[in-house]
């Protein structure tokens, strides 16, 4: 016997008409149910965080996303914080810049503290100030320092003990690193280590003269190793076909230990859980650099962004182009056997980060889509 809804059954009650608000709530429940069932079928949670297009987005270890926004009514830049996990409204933090910009910023740099409570903000365009914000307390803590050059890249060690920043000034650009006193808040007074362009430019491999390797453009990604031994810095070289350099420096002095020529422009650097291995992405391809042999080998992944898991031999990656499809994807890869564990179509991803406890991978795109992947171990 086949039952249909038209057959009256004993014990069933007639369907009554409800108020439109109640109907709206019920239809919302059906939508929620559909979303929940979709989540069951996929390991990737996808959410829309914002509608405007933003390029400079940095994810925290707790799944919050930091961005520069612009308050048109007050004509001032501010920092917006979005939350991937919670469906809570975004909130804004006002930063008392000495010279607030008169238009929305196009560039910004941020670095989250390892516990996700603080963020150091170097924004907006050309600002020479670094500010410390307490995201948990939703407040501006203080101006950390004001420098003679604008800061481009910032990095906070996973231990919380070191903070690194690059400063853009052409051939006078520099990288500085500060060691945090264990019992104090981050302080950016006199740097513990510094490396200038002149300190490494003459030591570049395979070049007889400065012209051979193109001209230095800027410093790119910074990555502090687990165990606080190394700082890896990308030195970007001008020219479509030029190879960027990966500078390996010792902490805290930033003494140059090695210069490695990447195969093209380097878009990302990530230390593996073993601090003797470094993964970098050059021209859309992932490479593994072993510090012992100083030799790099291509991994079987096309990737522009790469984040190694803090404790497992896996990594979260983004590639904007896939063979035969020209489609982008986010994926989790096994670094031991070179296989892709899980993947999800994605475009325009600008940052990836593992949660502090390593249970989730977060990613965010410039169009405001956030992705969360839960690791099943």
């Amino acid at each position: 016997m086949k039952h249909t809804r038209s057959q009256p059954q004993s014990g069933s009650t007639t369907i009554s008409k409800r108020a439109s608000r109640a109907l709206a709530a019920q239809s919302a429940a059906l939508v929620r149910r559909g979303l929940r069932d979709l989540a069951r079928d996929s390991n990737w949670l996808i959410k829309k965080l914002f509608t405007r297009r933003m390029n400079e987005l940095v994810i925290s270890p707790t799944g919050q996303v930091c961005a520069t926004s612009y308050d048109a009514r007050a004509s001032r830049a501010r920092i917006s914080i979005f939350d991937i996990e919670l469906s809570a409204p975004a909130f804004n933090l006002d930063v008392p810049y000495d010279h607030p910009p008169e238009k929305p910023a196009e560039r910004a740099s941020f670095a989250w503290s390892p516990d996700g409570r603080y963020v150091v903000a170097a924004s907006p365009d050309g600002s020479q100030e670094l500010h410390l914000l307490d995201v948990q307390a939703r407040s501006h803590v203080r101006l950390l320092n004001s420098f003679e050059q604008a800061s481009d890249s910032l990095a906070w060690a996973s231990s919380g003990n070191y903070f690194a920043a690059s400063f853009a000034a052409g051939d006078f650009s520099s990288i500085r690193v500060w060691r945090k006193a264990s019992d104090r808040e981050l302080s950016l007074g006199r740097a513990d280590g510094e490396i200038a362009v002149a300190d490494w430019i003459a030591a570049r491999p395979g070049s007889e003269s400065a012209e051979d390797a193109g001209s230095f453009r800027n410093y790119g990604a910074l990555a502090l190793s687990p165990g606080d031994e190394w700082l890896a810095v990308v030195a970007e070289i001008d020219g479509d076909w030029a190879d960027d350099y990966l500078l390996l420096t010792r902490l805290p002095s930033l003494r140059l230990a090695d210069i490695h020529a990447g195969q093209g422009h380097i878009t990302d650097v990530s230390w593996s859980r073993d601090p003797q291995q470094l993964i970098y992405c050059a021209s859309g391809q992932a490479f593994r650099l072993k510090l012992e042999s100083r030799e790099a080998s291509a991994l079987p992944f096309a990737a522009e962004l790469f984040r190694c898991h803090p404790t497992l031999p896996i990594a979260g990656c983004f590639a904007s182009w896939l063979k035969n499809s020209a489609k982008g994807r986010l994926f989790v890869a096994n670094l031991d056997d070179g296989t892709v564990i899980d993947e999800c179509p994605a475009e325009g991803v600008v940052d990836i980060r593992w949660s502090g406890d390593g249970t989730k991978l977060y990613a965010v795109s410039q169009d405001g889509l956030a992705y969360a992947f839960e690791v099943s171990i």
Partner: protein, 259 residues
């Protein structure tokens, strides 16, 4: 030949001129935001109807079968209080799902795809009659009514109605302005303030909408569409599989109990 000496604008006239330019910019911005918000509401409403028709109705069918199954189990074992409670809950859920999806499923929902013309006319109406662009209380009331009518016309694609609303307002006495620079300046400043407040309200409302479940579901659908998939179809298929499974159980139920 008569020569005219160019009259130098008074400070308040100069200020009024600047403020009017600012108001014109804000009028345009506000109209854009209103268009975006109204479009978003209409698009999501059409999307939700489509979802309820394609997927929601199947959930309602699934819940109805679950309720029937629960009621059958009560019939065969009426002494179990736990089964009674489960059947009541299943029936209540089935009714809720039916109420939400049932009426939506009877007719194919019209998709919301506004033409460039209707967008342009709506934008012009919003720019001209937006209630936050007047400081006159009586005029504000009239504009609120007009704006509500314009929103309804936009959502139903009635471009002729939008033209009529605009023409009616243009011919009304409220559209005529002018009481001197000082009064005008105060009025324009208030209008600017109202327009800015409304823009902030719209921004907040849009932020709220994009966090809603229905918006998130639409994002998933668009993502799937880009990958050449029809997410509604996939979802419906999964629910249909569950429906088929339950129908089989309902058929088998008497034999199971009787054996």
């Amino acid at each position: 030949m008569t020569t005219h000496k160019a009259r130098r604008a008074k400070p308040e006239e100069q200020e009024l001129d600047d403020k009017r330019k600012e108001r014109t910019q804000l009028e345009s911005e506000l109209a854009d935001r209103e268009l975006r918000l109204t479009s978003l509401h209409a698009e999501l409403s059409a999307f939700e109807r489509q979802y309820l028709r394609q997927v929601g109705l199947r959930y309602a069918e699934l819940d109805e079968l679950k309720a029937l199954l629960a009621e059958k189990m009560v019939e065969h074992d009426p002494g179990q209080e736990r089964l009674h409670r489960a059947a009541e809950q299943a029936r209540a859920r089935a009714q809720e799902s039916q109420a939400a999806a049932g009426t939506e499923g009877l007719e194919a929902p019209p998709s919301f795809t506004p033409t460039a013309e209707i967008k342009s006319v709506y934008r012009e109406v919003a720019r001209r009659v937006h209630p936050d662009l007047t400081s006159d209380r009586a005029d504000r009331g009239k504009r609120q009514t007009l704006m509500a009518a314009a929103n309804a016309a936009y959502k139903t694609g009635n471009v002729a109605r939008l033209h009529t609303l605009l023409a009616d307002y243009e011919a009304s006495p409220e559209a005529v302005k002018g009481e001197g620079a000082g009064a005008d300046l105060v009025r324009v400043i208030r209008q600017i303030s109202q327009a800015r407040n409304r823009i902030s309200e719209i921004e907040a409302e849009i932020e709220q909408i994009i966090r809603s479940d229905v918006f998130q579901l639409r994002v998933r659908c668009e993502e799937a569409e880009q990958a050449g998939r029809d997410l509604f179809q996939e979802m419906a298929r999964r629910v249909e599989e569950q429906v088929a499974h339950l129908q089989q159980r309902l058929q088998d139920q008497p034999m199971e109990v009787g054996s």
